[in-house]
Amino acid sequence: MDKATALDLYRVMRRIRDFEERATVLFGEGKLWGTIHSYAGEEGIAAGVCAHLRDDDWITSTHRGHGHCIAKRADLGRMYAELLGRETGYCRGRGGSMHIADTSKGNLGANGIVGGGIPIATGAALTAKQLGTDQVAVSFFGDGAANQGAFHESANLAAIWKLPVIYVCENNQYAESLPVKNAFAIEDISRRAEGYGMPGVRVNGRDVRAVYDAAGELIARARRGEGPAFLVADTYRHEGHYYGDPRKYQTKDEIEGWKARFDPLVDTRAWITDAKLATTAELDAIDAEVIEEAKAAVAWAEAGPPASPISLPGDVYASY
């Protein structure tokens, strides 16, 4: 991997981690409303996959969507503004964390319905196929979503129509409090791909390089018109399911054990320096830039006007 790519992956991952940490603080300060779901620990998946996407490629995201949004090059200020309920937010304060979309960058939106984005990404891929472009669509979703009928129906449609869509299952070991071992009678979720007639690949989602390589091949394949694929990235969410999750369903040992075994940010720094792609100083410089950028983004967001009153029917209907 060349230096520029490695540093860009690192920068994106750092941005995501920083965003999650800052959002958590803002939530603690009572400035946010509703709930937020941290992507901390899973940064490498969004970063590794989206590194292969253009602004005119599409993604669908989830309730745990900050990372996907950032990796798809969203503006941090507008993201914070959305969380803060400002008119300057991506969704003018109407959507919040669970519904951030940035259609200008091909992010068709976070989704509060588990599995809800899967058919939508499939439909986006249909558009590419129908219009004869080489765009691709990526649907991010969790292990839990893989047990939704929406996954089954969409995967089959994509397979029979050879649509350019990649289904990226982020297996972070839990669906809320349900461990994957209680949700599946199989150990390797990627085996489901066989039943649809598409390639199924399982990667170590904790290693951004593995994700980057696997996603690169599958996305290129889809662009060439060779059809969909199913990529399962194994990982672990470092935080609770949502801000304030008591995590009764996990032991301290389990949590600390995983955190000790991996931290995508620490690990990425390590291999970058080991591979002499960059020095610690260079990485620290990126961290500093990310922090500055984030502070500025929050400041800009907090300075924004509150979301404007709901106006009907215009907010709901394009015409009426």
Partner: protein, 321 residues
């Protein structure tokens, strides 16, 4: 021209006019659709624009949402409205809400064509009338044509509409005949149609009950009662002015629909009129609708659970008595 042909005509013209328009659904290709609406379109436009799908209602409707968000103008044919229960999530949580949730960034120009109603012995899982569900969803439009001409004009407008439209046909209207303008023809959404002018009472209705109401009106006229029959045509947007203007003239309201009465859209109309035109009413607003039961199979039972012509005549007479 038959109602189903008029619908096919609208599809053909819009597909010729706009390459982004595609049709997805079950049995719509060689077979031409369960009610022969897409007959001939496969030959005309090929299998990529007439996309026959597996039996995956949620996936199909969801794919239409994604396609609509990214530049196509998909039309989904859902074979029976009774199957909507499988696709409600994509219709309600996604299609209907995307524009609002995303602060106006998105548009979902899709149409879900489907059909409902009883009268063919298809029993409880193939005969429901579910328009009320869709009217209760902010973000959806709901259209229900009763004549071939309206079917063509309203479908054309629905396809060109930038919001998700639920287009509800009736299985017993497909083989009804009527004059249909040739070539491009649009009927705007949100405009009711006075299918018969009258002075003694206002019958507000839609879909197949429009035909029953017109028949009833003739029988009533024979008895000296002149009923005005208003075909809503689209429930959302609702043409409140047309309904209120008529009631202010006739001072009596009868709402007729095939769907079960409890929780039906007739309640919305009767309540709206009672609220807005209370002093103009010379009698209680009446609703005549389906009984609170699934549709039975047996031929001699099926008719007993939804309003028939004579039921309308009877209630209308009570109302003007």
């Amino acid at each position: 021209m038959f109602y189903n042909e008029a619908l096919g005509d609208a599809l053909r013209l819009e597909m010729e006019r706009d390459a982004r328009v595609i049709v997805m659904g079950e049995d719509i290709a060689e077979h031409g659709g369960a009610f022969q609406v897409t007959a001939g379109l496969l030959d005309a436009f090929g299998p990529t624009r007439i996309r026959q799908t597996p039996i995956s209602e949620l996936g199909i409707v969801g794919a239409a949402v994604g396609a609509a968000l990214t530049g196509l103008r998909p039309i989904v044919e859902l074979m029976y409205v009774d199957f909507a229960g499988l696709a409600m999530d994509q219709l309600v949580n996604q299609a209907a809400q995307n524009r609002f949730m995303f602060g106006g960034q998105a548009r979902v120009p899709m149409v879900m064509r489907t059909q409902g109603g009883s009268g063919r012995g298809n029993a409880a899982q193939h005969s429901k009338s579910l328009e009320a569900w869709f009217t209760h969803v902010a973000g959806l439009k709901v259209v229900m044509p009763s004549t071939p001409a309206d079917a063509k004009g309203l479908l054309t407008s629905s396809i060109r509409d930038d919001d998700p439209v639920i287009f509800l046909e009736h299985k017993l209207l497909y083989r009804t005949k009527g004059q249909v303008p040739t070539g491009e023809y649009l009927v705007p959404l949100g405009k009711a149609d006075v299918k018969r002018a009258g002075t003694d009472l206002t019958i507000v209705t839609w879909s197949r009950e429009v035909l029953f109401s017109l028949e009833a009106a003739e029988k009533l006229a024979a008895g000296g009662v002149e009923a005005e029959v208003i075909d809503l045509r689209s429930l959302v947007p609702l043409d409140r002015d047309a309904v209120l203007a008529s009631v202010r003239k006739t001072h009596r309201l009868l709402v007729v629909h095939e769907a079960i009465k409890r929780g039906g859209f007739g309640g919305e109309i009767a309540a709206m009129v009672a609220e807005e035109a209370f002093d103009d009413l010379d009698a209680p607003p009446r609703r005549l609708a389906g009984l609170e039961t699934p549709i039975p199979y047996a031929q001699h039972l099926e008719k007993t659970v939804v309003p028939q012509v004579d039921d309308i005549v009877r209630v209308a007479r009570e109302l003007v008595a």
